[in-house]
Symmetry: C2
Subunit: 313 residues, 2 copies
């Protein structure tokens, strides 16, 4: 099979042996695979894939058709449309994944949407609901509301009855984030004046933390899932105590199979029904053919877009 | 009535009008009242009592007999032995508290033990169970294991089937902390080498945070309830993300009545039965007669003791 390949911090498309599904696994013929920030880090050598995942093929999410079943795999049949997150290897013509990490693709979604769904919606759902227990009537702040996880979080928060405020640096994208369901879309500068917030989804990093602690409500929860702007945070413990607030962090990639499977079940139960009734969408900024992978990565790195960059196969 | 009184950052015993119980409140004739770190801060003017509590009478906890019932109070009868936490005012001959904040005193406890129980056991129980969900088989680290909250947390953790490690700076006190149920009692220096810990109870403050983040386990929880050594913490957000850890903080004093009442119900259900069957004790380092309040505060501030300093009335 052919796959996006990282070699000496460069991207190319190269031949690899076809992967074989083991016990409980499925082989998927990939039709679309979304790009994520972790892919850029991995190309730079800064974020190696976890053990057991291909080290030289990037790709944390994909959608495609089941091409073969490993021994004992029973959840899907050949030809079923599935999507999944993976520790790596999603950006190849074929990929192997455990059947319990895979989810069915709702009929309403085309391949690019399905290929750009798993990572960001699983991450956003896990962070704001599983980790932070966001409830109807609460106030949610989404930092980086125009990004992949941001657009997912804005929609999920609004669909769950929360009041959603999103920070968006690029003024040209604010109307589109508002159209996704955000009640307020604001400049990141001085965001703390718009609080208090019960849940804060931090996608930017350490520089936001002092203002996050000012903006968080009593019993509020801050969850950090991105630190592109820095990871060494100044944290005022008295503020955390006085507000009985919590600061937590999360990554999906390093989790063991059983925890990834649990997140997939949570998305199946609580997110896919919202896609089926049209309450959620996967904004796709642009698709690129597999062979134009460098263009796709360049476009992703340039920023200033709303929604996902997706490779198509 | 006479009460410990703060005036111009000095302690004395002075006359005050008798308090009157309002709707749902009880008047308690105080027999014993424990000292806490917050009292020292309040004398210095650094930690004023919350609105609605006496501003010039310290005392976050007390035990005594019900002397009168306010309108509609039904939980206790005159003469009942009760104990409670309060926003302030506990160190007087009489104190008024809402009946839903009060708890019955187990028959096995004498007055000094009962007067030194509520604040530290409620704080420790709330932090390690309600906030952090400590479970049997998990590993608990208690910083400052010889202090009031520390001795409570060590006993509660051991009684709940956790493996308890306590840091104790004063080598002379380590055997006593071990006798309370700690499986390991260690010097604070280099504590992170003894991890990983699932729950870390932080009673010292910011200087411990970098090592706490090294010592915390995957899915671990750090709860900060004391910052005497500093509150400006350096927090590595990548460590929090990678371990899916959480950092939270808590104070009891600022909570509204209904939340204080909930903590009292939790202690009644989950802590007092352990006292009744002899699984827990309140270590009392020394008692002082009410009129020797300055000696009591001096002894408390000097440290190096195991357990509570309690005023008796």
């Amino acid at each position: 099979m052919r796959a996006v390949t990282i070699s000496d911090n460069q991207l190319s498309v190269a031949e690899h042996p076809d992967p074989t599904p083991g016990a409980g696994e499925i082989l998927v013929r990939v039709r679309a695979a979304g790009l994520n920030g972790a892919d850029l880090l991995q190309v730079k050598g800064a974020y190696p894939a976890p053990p057991g995942s291909p080290q030289d093929i990037p790709g944390l999410e994909f959608a495609g058709e089941v091409a073969a079943l490993g021994p004992g795999a029973t959840r899907f049949s050949e030809g079923d449309r599935v999507m999944a997150i993976a520790g790596g290897g999603g950006q190849g013509e074929l990929v192997v994944v455990h059947e319990r990490q895979a989810m069915p693709v709702p009929p309403a979604l085309d391949w690019p949407q399905a290929g750009g769904l798993p990572e960001v919606f699983t991450t956003a759902h896990d962070a704001i609901f599983t980790q932070c227990g966001l409830k109807p009537g609460e106030r949610l702040l989404v930092h980086g509301g125009a990004g992949g996880v941001g657009t997912a979080a804005v929609q999920l928060g609004a669909a769950a009855g929360a009041h959603v405020t999103a920070t968006v640096r690029n003024a040209n994208l604010r109307d589109q984030v508002k159209a996704l369901g955000a009640h307020d879309v604001i400049d990141p500068e001085g965001f703390e004046a718009h609080g208090p917030f019960d849940v804060i989804l931090e996608l930017v990093g350490a520089p936001n933390m002092p203002a996050n602690l000012k903006a968080v409500n009593t019993d509020g929860r801050i969850v950090v899932i991105g630190v592109g702007a820095g990871f060494k945070a100044d944290v005022n413990l008295l503020a955390i105590m006085g507000k009985r607030a919590s600061l937590r962090g999360s990554t999906l990639r390093a989790r063991p199979l059983e925890e990834k499977a649990l997140t997939a079940r949570a998305v199946e139960r609580h997110v896919l029904p919202l896609f089926e009734r049209g309450a959620l969408a996967v904004p796709v900024a642009q698709t690129y053919a597999f062979d134009d992978v460098q263009d796709a990565y360049d476009r992703f790195a340039a920023g200033g877009k709303l929604g996902k960059i997706v490779l198509t196969f």
